[in-house]
């Protein structure tokens, strides 16, 4: 199936004088919602990166003075001209905290998924390429992991390792490994016996070379789609773990933790729960819409 599709796409690309990737990009651009989402995400990444640079340059001066320092006499102040999103339960500026907190969602979400991709791809490629007993051992183990809900698995891992930034990262990446192992294995299986792979083998390429330079590049499309969706899931897992008190610890301005701390005051001060919640929602929604757009662009046959 995939073989036919690749040929078809190549034919289409050749006809328009564009490569496969250029063609996909063109299709993606035509999807307005996906473009808006992508724009939002790019902005988010830029803003998150900006805080890291600001902190590095100022030696955490702004972070210490504005983001985590408390002003208990002005707690729970509603949005105003000076503080557009208001002040939280400790009198800290919510807008600044959301801005500074973006890094946890954005970079932790992305890096945990990246780690999961690396681990999952290696396992999936080995399983798919060698087949037989190796395949069975790896994939049955992955099946066991898949049978547990992500968040439950992540909670179990964090409970074992203890809360904290790195442990949350580890927990989330481990819980996403099976998903990627599956996707990569499926692609590898469909490509293992194709001519170009056989050709590579025939000229004496090692297994590793065949997997990484011949097969792997052809699995990228489904992997990218899967990754976008997984980042959305990972971000919500980070927020959920922090909400449960297992993730990022106070006073770090993680969105889920902000939401969790604010819940006591949900009836007194709407603004301290609404804005962090809204940011989580927008980020995940954008990732999902962009993921859908990418899938449509990279895999046009799936669209209908």
């Amino acid at each position: 199936m995939r073989k036919r599709k690749v040929q078809q796409l190549e034919a289409m690309a050749a006809a328009g004088g564009r490569s496969l990737w250029q063609e996909a990009l063109r299709r993606f651009r035509r999807n307005r919602m996906a473009m808006i989402s992508a724009g939002f995400l790019v902005l988010l990444v830029v803003f998150a990166a900006a805080t890291i640079i600001i902190d590095a340059v100022t030696g955490n001066a702004i972070y210490d003075a504005k983001v985590i320092s408390q002003d208990l006499t002005h707690r729970l102040q509603p949005p105003s001209k000076d503080h557009i999103l208001g002040l939280d339960e400790f009198g800290r500026d919510i807008a600044l905290r959301i801005w500074w907190g973006a890094r946890y969602s954005v970079f932790m979400g992305a890096s945990s998924v990246l780690a999961a991709i690396v681990m999952g791809s290696i396992l999936g490629a080995i399983a798919g390429y060698y087949g037989g007993v190796v395949d069975n051992v790896i994939m049955r183990f992955m099946d066991i992991m898949l049978s547990l809900p992500y968040i439950l698995l992540a909670i179990a891992i964090v409970a074992a390792l203890g809360p904290g930034l790195i442990n949350v990262l580890i927990a989330i990446s481990i819980s996403y490994v099976p998903e990627f192992a599956r996707v990569v294995r499926a692609s590898v299986l469909s490509m293992r016996d194709q001519e170009f792979v056989e050709a590579a083998r025939a000229v004496g390429a090692s297994d590793r070379k065949v997997i990484f330079s011949q097969i792997f590049p052809n699995t990228m499309a489904p992997l990218i789609v899967q990754a976008t969706m997984a980042v959305a899931g990972a971000i919500s897992s980070i927020a959920a773990l922090s909400f449960l008190g297992l993730g990022i610890q106070p006073p770090l301005p993680e969105w889920g933790a902000m939401l969790s701390n604010a819940r006591t005051y949900i009836r007194d001060a709407w603004h301290i729960t609404v804005f962090p919640g809204l940011m989580i929602l927008l980020t995940i929604l954008s990732l999902n819409i962009m993921g859908d757009g990418l899938r449509d662009a990279l895999d046009p046959k799936l669209k209908n």
Binding site: Q70, L72, P250, T264
Partner: protein, 530 residues
């Protein structure tokens, strides 16, 4: 044809679902009654036509579950909130804190070491056996042997049963607060025969002499009690009690507003005004005998350093915490003894918020660059919030605090075994006599579970604590406590932050509820209008 079939099938499905819903709805209440009373049908029909005045079940919600139903083990307030309704003590306390008869109907001091107590002769345990002097002797000796509550009764040298209803207690030395101590719920009288027969069964299925009998404990969720119709103080006003654990203060209030519960213990500070302003709710509030403080494990660096402990006291802005986080419901504390207790000393060293001094002390202690430590706390949102304020205030003097939120039971274990570095905790001076707090929190024999979780071991403190408890003379005792408080001023193993108020939110249908300053609310006379 297919379409018709589809519609018919979906209609059928809807009907089936509706039937299921109705079925489970009508089954549930029966199940509830069945588990709470021996004769469900009789109980329900009896209550309904009896005028429909009063509900036969009173529900209350509290923030944490019972730690143990054994009164000689579970001394934490959430446990006593339940067990004080199952068990009785020799003496009670009136609203002024004076001793009143309870299981003992009279008592006298023979000499300064000897007291005799005459017991009531009409008291039976929930299993039907009569309560006698043998049970009292057994119970007090059991409490003395308990690592958890020994401090309340270890002034006792011997307990003798003179006859079936007379008990003589000999103390090791003259002991001023004896009567107050025998009114503390963890000196409860338990049935000798039942405990000796099977102690493990007793712990999960407690038998007392109290107004309510134990029915069921779903751990982490709820406890059910039922009225002891043969109670020596008269049958309770309400037939069934249900305690539900609701950790979040905001949810306790919501449960109260929705009528899911009749009483909500420990309303969150930010919700107090909502209860006060609510037409159908009442807020019952009183200054408590509880103090909240940071306990510093003085066995390990850096808290073995007196200067670090002093720096921490200067670095914490107590009035700000009380005004903002507690909405003024409480008082900043300079000591661990509540001002209402006997033996409270005005000579406590006052540490007013002073960052400069705190920083200097940190420098002198050799921690100019600060250090990192863990601050543990149980999963109570208000307490976690106060810890975040403490975290922010200690950051000012370079202490990088990591907050560790623990479930109540594991938090108690952490303090009991000394695995903590710093912890935010509280202590209730249950007897309203300073000895209760000084002995448990400061004496070297009481480290860990009994209360001294600063693990302070100081011979001079021990000496003064003993001096204060081993005299029946009020002036002598006060002099010892004044000296002790002066000595503790610089030693400062604890960092008192505030004296709390005890509060209960009640539906206005609740009648005769009396707030206990210790939080041990007794529900014998309480009823709920239907």
């Amino acid at each position: 044809m297919k379409r018709v079939l589809a519609v018919a099938l979906s209609l059928f499905l809807m009907l089936a679902l509706a039937a299921c819903g109705g079925g489970s709805g009508s089954v549930a209440p029966e199940g509830d009654d069945g588990t709470s009373t021996a004769a469900p049908a009789g109980g329900a029909s009896e209550a309904a036509p009896a005028g429909g005045d009063e509900k036969d079940t009173l529900t209350w919600v509290q923030g944490a579950d019972v730690t143990s139903l054994d009164p000689h083990v579970g001394k934490e307030t959430p446990a006593v909130m339940v067990t004080c309704n199952i068990f009785d003590t020799l003496l009670g306390k009136d609203e002024n804190g004076h001793p009143t008869p309870c299981l003992a109907e009279s008592w006298e001091s023979v000499d300064e070491l000897t007291w005799t107590f005459k017991l009531r002769q009409d008291v039976t345990f929930h299993d039907g056996t009569p309560m006698t002097s043998a049970d009292v002797k057994f119970s007090l000796e059991r409490a003395i042997a308990s690592a958890f509550v020994s401090y309340v009764v270890d002034f006792i040298d011997t307990v003798t049963a003179d006859d079936e209803y007379t008990v003589t207690i000999k103390t090791k030395s003259p002991y001023g607060p004896i009567l107050a101590n025998l009114a503390v719920p963890f000196t409860a009288i338990v049935p000798k025969a039942a405990v000796e027969a099977d102690e493990d069964a007793f712990v999960v299925n407690p038998i007392g002499t109290g107004a309510f009998k134990f029915v069921e404990w779903k751990q982490g969720d709820s406890i059910k009690l039922e009225a002891n119709e043969n109670y020596w103080g008269g049958a309770p006003a309400t037939k069934n009690l249900v305690m539900r654990v609701v950790p979040e203060a905001a949810q306790r209030l919501i449960a109260l507003e929705n009528g899911e519960t009749d009483l909500a213990y420990e309303i969150g500070p930010n919700d107090l005004s909502k209860v006060r302003d609510h037409a159908n709710l009442e807020l019952l509030e009183a200054p408590s005998l509880s103090v909240f403080y940071l306990t510093l494990n003085t066995q390990n660096a850096p808290f073995d350093n007196v200067k670090v402990r002093q720096a921490i006291r200067y670095a914490i802005d107590k009035p700000l915490i009380v005004d903002s986080m507690l909405y003024g419901s409480g008082e900043p504390a300079d000591a661990t003894i509540p001002p209402a207790a006997f033996g409270y000393s005005a000579r406590s060293k006052v540490y007013d918020y002073n960052l400069e001094l705190a920083k200097e002390l940190m420098e002198e202690a050799g921690y100019a660059d600060g250090f990192t430590c863990e601050l543990s706390v149980n999963d109570n949102p208000t307490r976690v919030e106060i810890c975040q304020v403490v975290q922010s205030q200690l950051k000012e003097i370079g202490i990088n605090v990591e907050i560790q939120v623990l479930e109540f039971g594991s938090w108690i274990d952490q303090l009991g075994t000394g695995e903590h570095e710093m912890s935010f905790t509280g202590w209730t001076c249950s007897t309203a006599d300073a000895d209760y707090s000084y002995y448990s929190l400061f004496h070297s024999s009481q480290t860990g579970y009994p209360g001294n979780d600063a693990f302070l071991m100081d011979p001079k403190v021990d000496e003064l604590v003993e001096k204060g408890r081993e005299s029946a003379n009020g002036d002598e005792r006060q002099a010892a406590y004044d000296e002790l408080e002066e000595y503790l001023g610089d030693l400062t193993p604890y960092t008192p932050i505030y004296y709390s108020n005890v509060n209960v939110g009640a539906s206005s249908k609740v009648q005769n509820f009396v707030v206990d300053v210790n939080g041990y609310h007794r529900l014998h006379g309480v009823s709920v209008a239907g």
